[in-house]
């Protein structure tokens, strides 16, 4: 992702509608404004360290959370895992964390299962170099191992073990934001929720931890079935959810359901939370990059509107513009992502109504592309049979967006597209991890927060590839 930003400072201020205080600085460089590039431009100038937009709990005024939250699910990897098995590049992570904190980011969201289980430890290592009050850390109860066959005692013991390990790995005495991780899945989501949190007494334990101050705020992250969402909100008096993490972006606002009937449109989720004054934390604002890696003419559309801002910045400003939001999480692997996102939120320039409509129209256009809604979260991994599921789906999406998925041999683009698809496939996915090795065992699908029917999709892609290889499309 390449980001080039060069908005004229004047235009930018106009949009902001601020004038008086800045007028002095503006005047100081006005004499050469037409010829010289403004050294303080929001898009080409230095990235501001003191302009981050912050949000607090509306009811209590508690906390001051940066609107940009750091998602710790996509930390950069080492070329080879370290001797202890740690796949993450701690040095690089420290750099990113330092830069983020220096520029006002103070919310870090992780989980015991992220990055093959190393995210908490690595994030903790980076954060412990700062005073505890300098940052908020969010982590989750990812007790997906609990199943109905497990005794409540066993499931409680292991879950609490996970909670304690989180604190140990993060190297903190208390957790600022603690979430029940990814509720709403399973064939019977309410029963599933009860098995994981209620029948074993875990939720009572966590609420006690909240009272004791070792958990400062308790909430849940939601994917999947709407009945569970409604059910949990109806129990607000009992549980006092202080925040809820939802998937929201301009595509999912109205189109989440179209990808899968089990998904819930963000519009509904957000509105329900707003009604109850429960602030939302936003995940997948960029859909794992699907909203920045878009077809050429969609890029044109964005750039026509604002030539200097990145495609990704639209998605972040969209989420930030909603007011009942604490923070927008972004899993930033590269420094350039971090810098671009800081520009988007330091300070936030809220979208106008027209701009919002522009995004909804863009979403309609994007929905015409048959991409697979994979956000590269890697929850499906590791596949026990060695497949690289996200890489396969991402390669397919890339080819869809680049027009390299020909319909048939009569396609004028066929020869070129065929080569791009097949050569690119071998480059993106190791041969032994390609779709033709899928056994269809379906161990992956239950983990997918987007409810993608992974084996069916892989089989479809594999059939397509066979047709390309055999020239029988």
């Amino acid at each position: 992702m390449k980001k080039i930003h060069t908005i004229n400072r004047r235009d930018f201020l106009k949009t902001l509608g601020i004038s008086a205080t800045s007028a002095v600085t503006l005047a100081s460089c006005s004499s050469e404004k037409d010829k010289k590039v403004d050294p303080n431009s929001t898009y080409t100038g230095p990235i501001p360290t003191d302009k981050m937009t912050y949000r607090s709990f509306a009811a209590t005024g508690e906390d001051k959370v940066s609107l940009l939250g750091y998602g710790c699910m996509r930390w950069p990897n080492l070329d080879k895992p370290a001797a202890d098995g740690n796949p993450l590049d701690q040095e690089q992570v420290n750099k990113l964390v330092d830069y983020a904190i220096e520029h006002g980011v103070n919310y870090f969201d992780t989980s015991p299962v992220y990055c093959q289980g190393w995210s908490e430890r690595v994030t903790g290592n980076a954060l412990k170099r700062y005073p505890r009050e300098k940052y908020y850390v969010a982590t989750k109860m990812s007790n997906f191992f609990v199943n109905p066959n497990m005794t409540p005692q066993e499931s409680f013991r292991r879950s609490v073990g996970m909670y304690e390990k989180s604190k140990a790995d993060l190297q903190v005495d208390y957790i600022d934001y603690y979430l029940l991780h990814s509720v709403g899945g399973g064939t019977d989501p309410i029963a599933d929720f009860n098995t994981r949190f209620v029948n074993n007494g875990l939720i009572d334990y966590l609420m006690k931890e909240r009272e004791a101050g070792r958990i400062r705020h308790l909430g849940f992250s939601f994917h999947g079935a709407v009945e569970l969402f409604d059910y949990l909100l109806s129990k607000q008096d009992e549980y006092h959810w202080e925040f809820v993490q939802i998937q929201m972006n301009y595509l999912d606002w109205k189109h989440a359901k179209e990808n899968n009937r089990r998904n819930v449109n963000a519009e509904y989720l957000y509105t329900e939370l707003e009604k109850r004054n429960i602030p939302a934390v936003i995940m997948e604002p960029l859909l794992g990059g699907r909203l920045s890696r878009v077809p050429d003419h969609v890029v044109r559309r964005f750039k026509q509107q604002s030539p200097e801002s990145s495609v990704a910045s639209w998605a972040f400003r969209y989420c930030g513009s909603a007011t009942n939001i604490l923070t927008v999480l972004s899993g930033m692997t590269y420094m350039e992502h971090l810098q671009d996102n800081i520009r988007s939120f330091a300070p936030l320039v809220p979208l106008t109504e027209e701009e919002k409509q522009f995004l909804y129209d863009t979403a309609d256009i994007m929905m015409q592309y048959p991409t697979i809604p994979c956000n590269d979260c890697k929850y499906c991994m590791p596949c026990p049979y060695g497949l690289d599921i996200p890489a396969i789906l991402l390669h397919y999406n890339k080819c869809v967006n680049e027009g390299n998925v020909p319909k048939n041999r009569q396609d004028p683009n066929y020869v070129k597209a065929r080569r791009a698809f097949l050569v690119g496939y071998d480059r993106s996915v190791e041969k032994l991890r390609q779709a033709n090795h899928c056994t269809g065992c379906n161990q992956c699908s239950p983990h997918c927060p987007q409810n993608i029917r992974i084996p069916q999709q892989l089989e479809r892609i594999d059939k397509f590839i066979e047709q390309l290889k055999q020239n029988t499309l």
Partner: protein, 531 residues
């Protein structure tokens, strides 16, 4: 002029035939495939009468120009000889060779052994001696990996540049014995060629011996005109075949490869490429007699002088013998890493990859030969083990056999890829008729083996997971899924093979998730048939 034409043609032939072996994209054989088919031994094995007659006619007319132009092994030796010359003392660089008598017993002895082996069907011995096969092994084992490495460098940069013009290709040693044989052949031939030119062609090469016999009777020959010859001996010292006895005005035409170097070397215009009449022949013999007397007198006088001076040093001529030996295969005991057992206390973490254990070849009772080869017998009796099909196979299926009786002949195995339905490239390139040309349609209905299921390894049985990947990828629909327990409609499904429909392509074996041994594998058939 003659030499220039010869050089130009030789360079063209050599380059093209080498490219034929290097090319892994399957595009060149359409244009250059005939170059392999006009090689002598493959033509004989393919019973390609037209080519054989043409080559015999060519030799009877012009002498052994086959060895100077068409045979890549011959041209390769000329290149090696040039390289070898760089390392010779300056005095010998220009005139590096000298006449030596023919080693007739060795030549015909090897030829006799070769013919016996050919008739008795000892393919590995035939393959070891055949010049084209030797070159093919050198090209595919030593040169193709370098070529592919170059391609992979380009592919690396192409990937950086988001270009699809080059793609990465895997390369590996397909069979250690064959690789060693190729390397040893290369080294031995290099040493022979660098020191003494065409020694290989005139001692070991059976094709050279046969053509040499024919060349004795060829219409055009290089001839010394005794009236013009000044006995300088340059021609002889230029002759890489060591076949010019200038003192006797004689050529050993069975060894002359008609390269034309002697004609260029002659400073007194005494050498011509022409037809010899009977009269000329008589004149030559007479002149030789006279010259011999002259030399004898001179020698006698010289001997007298020398006897006075000191005792002469005897020159010992070493007989160079080269023996090509096949080396036994080093058993590479691959330490199969045991699949890490998931401790039930370990929580499923997100991301990362499961280890993939390398596939191992099953023990097949009968080896698999590629479609088009008709039968194991046909393959066995025609294949020259030139490795062209192995170099061509884009799926990593064909590799040289390590079985001593059919050493280096191609066999199929499916650890890396499988015999893809859209591919018939091996059949298109084979020059020897071991793999007959076969269309895609024929290929898809030719049964070369059949799949065998191993219950205990099958994923539904071993892992308790649903699978069916073999069935999904069977191009002929020969594999169906049935209940593992007929009484329980919810039991996992297992594959069953319809041996009548199975063509033995190996898709099931290659794509079977069971590792290191597949739960379904192909057993070869002695005789192929169309289903």
């Amino acid at each position: 002029m003659l030499r220039k034409i010869r050089l130009t043609l030789a360079v063209i032939f050599f380059t093209c035939i080498t490219l034929l072996f290097l090319d892994f994209t399957g595009t060149l054989h359409t244009w250059l495939g005939w170059m392999a088919k006009i090689q002598f031994l493959p033509a004989v094995l393919a019973l390609n009468v037209i080519v054989i007659i043409a080559l015999i006619a060519l030799t009877l007319l012009f002498g052994r120009i086959y060895c100077s132009i068409i045979c890549p092994m011959g041209v390769m030796q000329d290149i090696m000889a040039r390289i070898g010359n760089w390392f010779k003392p300056k005095s010998k660089r220009k005139l590096p060779y000298s006449y030596s008598p023919a080693k007739t017993w060795l030549r015909y002895g090897v030829l006799a052994l070769f013919i016996i082996a050919l008739i008795a069907g000892v393919g590995s011995f035939v393959a070891l001696l055949a010049p084209y096969s030797s070159f093919g092994r050198i090209a595919s084992n030593l040169l193709q990996p370098i070529w592919i490495a170059g391609n992979n460098v380009l592919a690396y940069f192409a990937e950086k540049a988001e270009s699809y013009s080059f793609y990465h290709v895997d390369t590996w040693i397909k069979s250690l014995p064959t690789f060693i044989i190729a390397a040893v052949t290369f080294i031995v031939v290099f040493i022979l060629a660098a020191r003494n030119g065409r020694t290989y062609c005139n001692t070991i090469c059976p094709v050279g011996t046969v053509l040499g016999f024919l060349a004795k009777f060829s219409w055009f020959k290089p001839v010394i005109d005794p009236d013009k010859c000044i006995q300088c001996g340059k021609c002889s010292k230029k002759c890489k075949a060591a076949c010019i006895d200038y003192k006797a005005f004689q050529f050993d035409y069975s060894r002359c490869v008609t390269c034309g170097n002697c004609i260029v070397a002659c400073s007194s215009d005494a050498l011509h490429y022409q037809h010899i009449t009977k009269d000329q022949q008589v004149h030559l013999v007479e002149a030789a007699k006279a010259n011999a007397e002259k030399i004898a007198k001179r020698e006698a006088a010289k001997a007298e002088r020398q006897a006075k001076n000191a005792e002469g040093k005897e020159k010992v001529d070493d007989a160079k013998r080269s023996v090509l030996t096949a080396t036994a295969l080093l058993a590479t005991a691959s330490l199969a890493k045991a699949q890490e057992k998931l401790d039930d206390d370990i929580i499923k973490m997100d991301g990362g990859y499961a280890d993939i254990i390398e596939k191992k070849a099953p023990k097949r009772l009968t080896g698999i030969t590629p479609p088009g080869s008709k039968s194991a017998k046909n393959m066995y009796s025609h294949c020259t083990a030139c490795q062209l099909c192995v170099a061509e196979c884009p799926n990593g299926v064909l590799r040289p056999s390590t079985d001593l009786m059919k050493l280096m002949q191609p066999v199929a195995s499916f650890e890396i890829g499988y015999c893809r339905p859209e591919c018939n490239r091996c059949s298109q390139v084979c020059p020897a008729g071991a793999i007959k040309p076969i269309s895609i349609e024929e290929r898809s209905s030719t049964q070369v083996g059949h799949a065998v299921w191993i219950r205990d390894l099958c994923i539904p049985i071993a892992d308790g997971q649903s699978c069916g990947n073999c069935s999904r990828h069977c191009p002929t629909g020969a594999i169906q899924m049935v209940l593992s327990n007929p009484d329980d409609p919810r039991s996992l499904e297992i594959p069953v093979v319809d041996e009548e429909r199975c063509i033995g392509c190996g898709a099931c074996e290659n794509l079977c998730p069971a590792r290191p041994l597949s739960a379904i594998y192909v057993e070869g058939h002695e005789v192929h048939r169309v289903i």
